[in-house]
Structures are given as C-alpha cells and as structure tokens.
Symmetry: C2
Subunit: 255 residues, 2 copies
C-alpha cells in the first residue's frame, strides 16, 4: 500500500549486471539503499535489474528517471569491457563522455602502475556530470540530472551513498512500528487487520508471516509519516486483534 | 553481455511487495530463480520490484509478459488485504477471479479452523488459470498464459518452482567456467580480457573483482552454450593473460 502522494519523494534503483541475473551474485545493494533512503524520508518506489547490454540500460534508465524524483544505478563502472554504465548513462542523456581531470589527478597521485587505457576508462564522466565521492577504494561515481551512478561492490556502494543522501531533497521520514502476533495465522488476523487498514487509508499496514522452530504468527508493520497517528493506530490494532479473540499480541522492536 | 538470440528462452521475475522496497526484507527469491532457470537453460533477462499497488503490478506484468517467454511473480498471494497479486494478474489478463474447487477441498481437508473470508481469498484463481503445486505449506500458486504466480516466502517459493520448470520450454543449458587471477587488478586484466571477448562475441565474459583479507584479484567468468568452445576459450584467455605478464592465473571451481 502506497503512502499518500503529499510530500512524497521517490527514488528508483537500477541494478546493472549479468552476475545478478545469472544468479552468481546475490544483490544486497537494493536493501541497503532502501534502508538508507527510508531514514532520510525518501521512498524506494521501484527497482529493476538489467543485463550489461547498452540498449537495455538506456531504456530502463530513461523510463525510471522520467517517472521518479531520483534514480540510483549500481554496477558496471569498472575498467573492463563489460563495464558500460557510463556509456549508457551518457547516451540516455544524449551527451558525450569526457575524462574528468580530478579523477586523472587522483589516479596519478594514488596509483603507481601505468595509467593505461583500461584505467582511463574509469575516469570518463558524462559531460555535465559531477563526481560522487568514493571513500573506500578506486575512482568516484558520478551524478547527472536526477541520476546517481554508483559502484556495484557493496562496501564501495555504501560508501558512495553517504555522498548521495545530502544532495537529495528529503521528504518527511517515515516511522514504523511492529505488532507481533504469535500462535495465530494470517487467516485469523486478516479481518481485524483489514478493518484497521481501511479506517486509515493514508497509512501503510503490512502483514509478514513467520513460521519455523520459533513457532508461527505474523509481524504486522505499520508505517506513517505522523508519529502521533502511528502510536494511536498501534493501540487501535492491538484492541481490534484482542476483540477478535487473538490474545498473544504485543508491540515489539525490530532491528 | 547477452548470449546469442538463437535458442534463447527468456524469463523475467516480478517481485511484488512493500517489504522489499522498504528494505525490511532482503529478497533472495530472485537469485534462487536465476539459478534454477540457469540449470534448465532459461535466461533470467530482467527483474522488477513493485509495491503492493494494483496499477503498478498490472503495468509491470503486462510489460514483462509481452516481452519475455515467461514471467514469474513472487509475493502477495496470502489472505490479507495487502495480498492483491491474484486480483492484479486477473486484471492484467482481463479475466475474473473464481474460487478453485480443488483449493477449497484442500483447505477443508487440511485445516480445522473456520474457512473464513480471508482464507477463501487464497482459493481465488484467475479464470483459465491452472494450479502450481505447493509442497511446503498453504495453498498452491497458479499459472495463466506465460505467467507463473508464486508465494513470496522463500521456502514455499522454492518448493513451487519445482512444479514450474517442467512446464517451461527449456533452452540449451548454459555452461560456465571461472578463471581466477590473483594479485592483479582489473586495470591490468582488462586489455587481454577484452581482446578475447571481442574474438568471441557469441560468448559472455565477465570480470568480478574481489579484495579483502584474502588478497585481491578477479574472477573471470566465461559462459557459453557450447562446452567445446568454452574449454577452448578458457585456454585462450589464460594464454592471453600470461602473455600480458599476468602469471598468477588458473581455472577454478566455483560452487
């Protein structure tokens, strides 16, 4: 369920890489970005994963940047032939790539090896783009228009993200609370949950069942941009569940 | 880099759920599906994640099912109000939902609790759809046209997948080999790698760098549908790397 459009700031993630689509690599960047954005009040609205194919990257990027406030791309900015993200972003914006003097200077200062053609590839930035700091290792990312192009390696991506957030117009942060029900399945929970959800259409209420050695039940997650409303509706939901004969229910902290 | 269109069978994954976009849940279904499909020779060509919003699900599903041979959806088939995947799939195909008598019979036989409205929601299947077996727990998924609608809970999703593969037209399986380079960065590897990649445009060659306590280097992954070609090009790549002065290179098994 979407939060109301009022004050909503949206972002999409475009994951670029054959290694994700082949199942070789488990993407974790999307979740890291989602959590980072949540804290600064921006909604991750959609994600896509595309292969290392120029026209696929361009088409997805153009669709996403037209529709959402921001787009973050991950992957494909290294020095090898399959790293074509910079080329694709430039093509999507209809601009050329140019070697950025700050990156060449950084490479020359830090690296002892030859500044060969492959390494110079990583210094290319679309004309009009600005750099995104890389506090971890290797060359920076870049931003152009409403698009931020970051590395795919998770620790580098997370480092770059710290330089992206401050450049985004943050919405009001969304706050969440979790109500945990144990020993009752979703079939029993659904009616009282739905009644509360329908009474508050401007909030998000989700049910996330669990089962296993620890028993079974469901975590009911309430999200709102209004903390006062959130506290009130948590009480309302617990009352509704108890009214339906579901007694093993309490608010919990989820880390 | 894409494999040649000849004999290529494609599938997209559509992940449905606010819990993925909020960062609350780490999606692992995409990777499981990618690996499952790889073994039966089908390429995962694109993935998207959309929120629990009817029009978003419908639009993404219609875009994907028109473009790829198959689409697998995950999530949103439980009994609660935010489980709207069946409604969205039916709407995308322009058909109604109906209670499937086999699911009602299964629920009646297995469950002791009341068959209430929430539980009956899970018996709804688009008209013209067929069931996908659920060997784990709860009601089945369904298939309609070229779309397979599976649960979001990973262990249930994996169980359902076993009933999906046999209904797909498999392509020729893709085989992969990995050449590991240690002590050389991508900047040094790029030129010989690109030369070999350009000589074999019908294959996929990717470079996946690693660094950390174990040292640094890159795994070069070669993929082809032709095992003979693969073995030959692995030899060619190792020779090209050694010719460029990169000596710590060998073929490895990747699990």
């Amino acid at each position: 369920m979407a939060l109301p459009a009022e004050d909503r700031v949206t972002c999409a993630v475009l994951v670029i890489g054959d290694e994700i689509l082949s199942g070789r690599t488990q993407d974790t960047n999307t979740r890291d970005i989602a959590r980072y954005l949540g804290v600064i009040g921006i909604d991750l609205a959609e994600t896509r994963t595309v292969p290392d194919v120029m026209e696929e990257i361009i088409a997805a990027l153009n669709a996403l940047r037209a529709r959402y406030d921001y787009v973050i791309t991950t992957g494909g900015i290294g020095p090898t032939h399959d790293d074509i993200t910079a080329d694709a972003v430039a093509a999507a914006f209809g601009v050329e790539l140019e070697e950025h003097p700050d990156i060449i200077a950084m490479m020359t200062a830090r690296w002892t090896g030859e500044l060969n053609a492959a390494r110079r590839r990583m210094a290319r930035v679309p004309v009009g783009g600005v750099l995104v700091k890389n506090p971890v290792q290797g060359p920076p990312g870049f931003a152009i228009g409403n698009v931020f192009t970051l590395a795919g390696v998770p620790q580098i991506m997370r480092g770059m993200l710290e330089d992206v957030g401050p450049r985004m117009r943050g919405g009001r942060p969304t706050v969440s609370r979790t109500v945990r029900v144990e020993g009752s399945g979703e079939g029993a929970i659904a009616a009282p949950l739905e009644a509360v959800a329908k009474a508050h259409p401007d909030m998000s209420l989700g049910s996330y069942p669990f089962f296993g050695a620890e028993g079974y039940g469901s975590n009911l997650v309430l999200r709102s941009r209004d903390v006062g409303q959130l506290v009130e509706v948590v009480g309302e939901l617990i009352a509704a569940l108890k009214g339906a004969g579901i007694d093993n229910v309490r608010e919990v902290e989820v880390v």
